[in-house]
Symmetry: C2
Subunit: 212 residues, 2 copies
Amino acid sequence: MRVSRLAEESGVPLATIKFYLRDGLLHAGERTSATQAEYDESHVRRLALIRALIGPAGLSLAATRELLAVVDSPPPAFHDLLGHAHAASPRAIGEADSADSAEADRLIERAGWSSCGKENRSALVAALAGLRAADFPLNDDDLDHYAEAMSTIADAEVARVPTDSPASAVRYVALGTVLVEPVLLAMRRLAQERASERLFMGDARQGPAVGS
Amino acid sequence: MRVSRLAEESGVPLATIKFYLRDGLLHAGERTSATQAEYDESHVRRLALIRALIGPAGLSLAATRELLAVVDSPPPAFHDLLGHAHAASPRAIGEADSADSAEADRLIERAGWSSCGKENRSALVAALAGLRAADFPLNDDDLDHYAEAMSTIADAEVARVPTDSPASAVRYVALGTVLVEPVLLAMRRLAQERASERLFMGDARQGPAVGS
């Protein structure tokens, strides 16, 4: 198909497609003349993937580029994938101090994650620094409870990774890491809503204990 | 203290403090002359809070403004808080179609979240649209497993909300929603790293089944 048809098919504006082509995010079509090229289903799928990463998963263009580079050229050792996928984080890193570092290390030790890489540890330190900076109290029990829930999730996720080929494994790990994040966050909010309703509104839709 | 001392104390650049003052994110100091004002500990704490939201929690300036407006002026009914806190989402909304809507509704029904508000449902629809657009397969069992883990987390979180005053409850809900998100995501990645190591590397640090 022509590029104009690709724009219709994918729902991505022509100017954006041209930008992705120049950028290398989208592979070139097959040139049919000096000014024209043919595109196919592989281009439609690739555009859907790019839009999914930039849209719901909330990645920046740079993070999307980095993540797709990993998907396109898998690293040789399987375990290395996670590190690459995790590096494409949409989260900013805050300013942490030594108390946050120490708290993260104690938590990592209790959860049995001591062999973890530097990047994920840094993300945890930054997240704990955010709680401290906002003066938001979470004790060790609260943190351990979160860690336990996330371990249950991660065990199931890693067990689901397809092992038939490196390419499908890479795709699964890299995309699953970032695409499932908005699913989890939306679910947490839905579950909070339900829990709040149950706890504060009761059966008779009574006014809440607070704010009345 | 003078504004220059506030900058030192808080670690926030003077130009940024002046921007927050003009913007109203930071409350004005007590005017001592035509060109000078006095600031105190409340300004230092507020700056730490603003930086925590914009930094580790990854909120935009607009979302931070909206969230702090809720913290500053709590809505009268407790259950309404969640909606306000949840509206300050750092996540973009993707393009969803009717299949995503239907899948979200089935999931919400199974999880017992049917009384949920429109915004959180939309966030779930958008997140599911992202999975579909990227052609990332998750079946009902996988989704229910996520929903169960998030319900466990949310029940504990809502039970922890302080009920001594509306202001402290608002603060807890509004900040807890966004500040805990990076904690959970960092933990999931740490747990994935550990699970991947256990599953694919084994005790003898054998090469993985994939990629060898």
